[in-house]
Symmetry: C2
Subunit: 256 residues, 2 copies
């Protein structure tokens, strides 16, 4: 269950700690030592030491009565510090709010973590649109949906790697790799990507890239809405708005 990296890490305790944090995050209820050790394939005693160390750092909370462990508020402090140092959420929040309002869509600002995945770092929900719910901190595979086409179009990744990753994706209505490649090419041409019901049936997703520095895009602006509603109001207009906003934010991020 715990992944083994190609070159064995010189600090395995940290990989274990991270796995424990993620497991506790996933779990809806606090877990005991044995349950954690079993789930992650760890030796109970080692697991106990890691848990104690994490509790010492207040990243996890220990309930002496039930002997159960859960995430603690310390992770919040780290997140706040990350947010404080990152201009991207602050920069794009007003942009997201404006586009969400203008077009009646849910807007996301996402950070691109290589070809592996993307993380939502800012969200704006339009009022009239009922919850196409995504929260800050949510993770998605990098190549999925419109954002995926964006990353493929502007990331300059080797074809073979893209194909390999593409096969692992889960869509409501999977496009063929050939169709997808064509859409990626189109994305490169028009500056924004469209996912028309592939990822989630009936839901349209648009995405435009943002660059912190020349090279691969670092972030993306994403619009999500009911497919029919978006198309009625003009898919092009929304796409152009995303591209324009992306350009502005890119300039601000590389300038400042």
């Amino acid at each position: 269950m715990v992944e083994s990296p190609a070159s064995p890490s010189k600090a395995p305790a940290i990989a274990r700690a991270a796995a424990i944090l993620r497991l506790l995050g996933k779990s809806d209820t606090p877990l005991g030592v044995q349950a954690i050790a079993r789930e992650l394939g760890l030796v109970p005693s080692t697991c106990l030491y890691v848990l104690r160390a994490l509790a010492e750092e207040e990243l996890i909370a220990f309930d002496p009565d039930t002997k159960r462990y859960a995430l603690d508020a310390g992770v919040l402090t780290l997140a706040r510090q990350w947010l404080r140092r990152n201009q991207f959420p602050d920069l794009i929040q007003p942009v997201l709010d404006r586009i969400a309002g203008d077009f009646g869509v849910t807007m996301l600002g996402v950070q691109i973590v290589g070809l592996d995945h993307i993380i939502a770092v800012a969200v704006s929900r339009s009022g009239n649109n009922f919850q196409l719910s995504t929260q800050v901190g949510s993770r998605f595979p990098a190549l999925i949906s419109a954002t995926g086409r964006c990353i493929a179009a502007f990331g300059d990744y080797p074809e073979a790697e893209l194909a390999r990753r593409f096969r692992t994706l889960r869509w409501d209505e999977p496009p063929s790799f050939e169709a997808w490649r064509e859409q990626v090419a189109e994305t490169r041409a028009q500056g924004f990507a469209v996912d028309d019901g592939n990822y989630i049936a009936g839901v349209a997703v648009l995405a435009a890239p943002v660059w912190k520095a020349p090279g691969k895009p670092s972030h993306a602006l994403v619009a999500i809405g009911i497919g029919s509603a978006i198309k009625k109001r003009g898919l092009e207009a929304l796409g152009d708005a995303l591209v324009a906003a992306g350009r502005t934010v890119s300039a601000q991020m590389s300038g400042g």
Copy 2:
């Protein structure tokens, strides 16, 4: 700079990792291996291994060009998971909003982490009140201000421990320990605590405890406002509102 625990941990890598995360959080700019090692008193090579492990887990980001490390968005994911599993912020947010609006104060929901410190986990700023700024994830010493009197009043801690901790606090207008003890007694009697300009001159802070389970309070509701403005509208009324809200939330948390 890195604190040495009483009983030496069996997983020191984790303490180092946590120290690194906090250091990177504090820093306004990405740091190199040597800078981190020097600041934390670590051996550079060990520091490097820890950094690589953290980067592998995407808790920190590594810039290959500058060879610098910074917090990564992975910490956001953990924070989101913590928030998802914790009912307290959700429960109190409407309560905070209401009281903030009614009394024109800034409201905080805080989690109590023993006698060591408290962490703000929910915030509501009243519109007309200019920024008495505190953000979610902020940490404060446990015994400071009104919340401190609350913790002392309802926590049943040994007097010596309280006195020891009390001496380390930094106030704008420090009360004497005797005066403080008296205020703690009063807090116990009336159910809420008041800090009238001690912590921050001219600023009044009120706090009422919240219990998840019988024993020591687990959280607190905190009101912050300009002293004169609060006193004009009635300090008692605000205090009673806090106590009532605290009782309601306590019931919901122990019931559900």
